[in-house]
Amino acid sequence: MSGFTLQGILANVYETGAFWLLSLVALGAALAVVGLKNIVHSAFSLVLSFVAMAGLFMLLEADFLAMVQLLVYAGAISILLVFAIMLTRRPEGKMQESNPFGRYALPAGLVAFFLFLAIAALVLRVSWVSGPGVPAASTVGPLAEAFLTTYVVPLEVAAILLLVALVGAIMLAGGGKR
């Protein structure tokens, strides 16, 4: 049963179909996050968007990051968001109107739309050339090596940032008072 590796899957004709499917799901779910009126529904479509994006990472042969995306975004951050939603239910508790648009929805929409048009126009004007080399079969080893040699300072900074954020979040949420 081991004849088919992941690289084997990605090398064949399904890549194009998978790309279109995953990007449509990611974009559609992202639109639902913004458009839905019930914030719990928004949060769950955010999860769907994250999962589809993990699939896109897989297509880009970033296996480690795809798993981290699932673990951190779909498994932790979105859960945290849903938790926060449940802890901040309004007194009147109307979930149907819990995620309204603000006063600046129209200008914001225009800004976002024209930003997208500008990005797309710029991207499509450039004829991209692929760089030299082939991607590694597994990114775990090279990534570990990069983090523990060249990028050891960013790694440590990230660790300190996480620690500070952890302590700060606990203090802000009121855990430090008692």
């Binding site: 049963m1 081991s2 798993m67």
Partner: protein
């Protein structure tokens, strides 16, 4: 003996040859075999789950000095069939105030991660659906998404008990994921790979449970909590919050949550066997049989613990994860790393 060993592999090869003989292009054959693998994994999961429901009640009866189910069939073996028929026949009740779409979706979503976990489990020699080079990480990542369905089910029922239960469940699962992942680090360091087949191969001479006893105990405790099984079954503590996240579910939808729990029990036991008990390796018997025997031994351990210890309190539960298991697993990682370096320096 050799034919028994490779019965599934030769079946796979026969299927591929048969499909090729129809003149199918390779990509179509690949698609067909993927479907066949998926069906095979699902069959394995369902067969085990149905047997486990029976086994749990028998083990519970044995532990409590009573007989357990013994009316339907010899030794009560068909009790599960009767239960399944009853659940199938029940009305599918959706509460009036529930968020109907999410309520329906949650009962289906719970099953997806539970079955996806089996993709990276090596069931026997070369019997693994996808031998990913991040296999172990895949297991942890996909396992962590199961919390979303629990939260969805608990929220959408619009019932205070189910909301409380699902929040308890999610808090518990997120807390215990950390010691679980850290306990696996020791094994990863020894094997030098996240690929399941290489982890199994690294245990050819010595099972990792001998080298990593602390990691195994940490894994066992954290996995029990991940599965929401006793003594950590607070999310569904019957005496406090009736049945936790699934109070409002009935009939087949309830059965799906129930089945997903047992599917997770199988996958967590299978991972324990792969990482600590040498996977499918063993003398005389075919590899897949060894695997099943070891998995059932692990499942028996989980059941033994469930029916032996009383449920613990919620603050003790969190304290155990953060103040005891996490430091212990960190120390284990440190000691393992030091030992590996030491052994390398001594030139072993």
């Amino acid at each position: 003996m050799a034919s028994v060993e490779t019965v599934f592999l030769s079946g796979d090869q026969w299927l591929k040859n048969w499909l090729f003989s129809w003149g199918m292009p390779e990509s179509w054959v690949f698609l067909c075999t993927v479907v066949v693998y998926a069906v095979a994994v699902l069959l394995f999961v369902f067969a085990n789950v149905i047997f486990l429901v029976y086994l749990e009640r028998k083990v519970a009866g044995y532990m409590q000095q009573r007989l357990g189910p013994n009316r339907v069939g010899p030794g009560g073996i068909f009790q599960c069939v009767a239960d399944a028929l009853k659940l199938l026949g029940k009305e599918d009740i959706i509460p009036a105030s529930a968020d109907r779409g999410l309520f329906r979706l949650a009962s289906l979503l719970i099953f997806i991660p539970a079955t996806m976990l089996f993709v990276v489990i090596p069931f026997g020699r070369e019997m693994i659906v996808a031998d990913l080079n991040v296999g172990l990480l895949y297991f942890i990542a996909v396992g962590s998404t199961a919390t979303i369905a629990v939260l969805m089910g608990g929220w959408s029922a619009n019932n205070k008990y189910s909301l409380l239960g699902s929040m308890r469940a999610v808090a518990q699962m997120i807390s215990y994921e950390i010691p679980l992942a850290f306990s696996l680090l020791g094994v990863i360091m020894l094997a030098g790979s996240l690929r399941m087949s290489e982890i199994v191969a690294a245990q050819k001479d010595l099972w990792f449970v001998v080298l990593q006893p602390v990691a195994f105990i940490t894994y066992f405790i954290a996995a029990t909590a991940e599965l929401n099984r006793g003594p950590f079954d607070l999310p569904e503590g019957e005496q406090e919050i009736i049945a936790g996240p699934f109070v409002e579910y009935s009939g087949m939808r309830y059965a799906l949550f129930f089945l997903a729990e047992y599917a997770n029990l199988v996958s967590v036991s299978a991972l324990a066997v792969t990482l600590f008990f040498g996977g499918w390796q063993g003398p005389w018997l075919p590899s897949w049989l060894w695997f099943v025997i070891k998995v059932y031994f692990m499942i028996f351990l989980f059941m033994w613990v469930k029916w032996t210890f009383p449920r613990i309190r919620v603050d003790h539960l969190m304290g155990l994860a953060w103040k005891f298991l996490l430091p212990v697993s960190l120390v284990n990682v440190f000691v393992t790393g030091t030992a590996i370096k030491l052994f390398q320096a001594m030139g072993w």
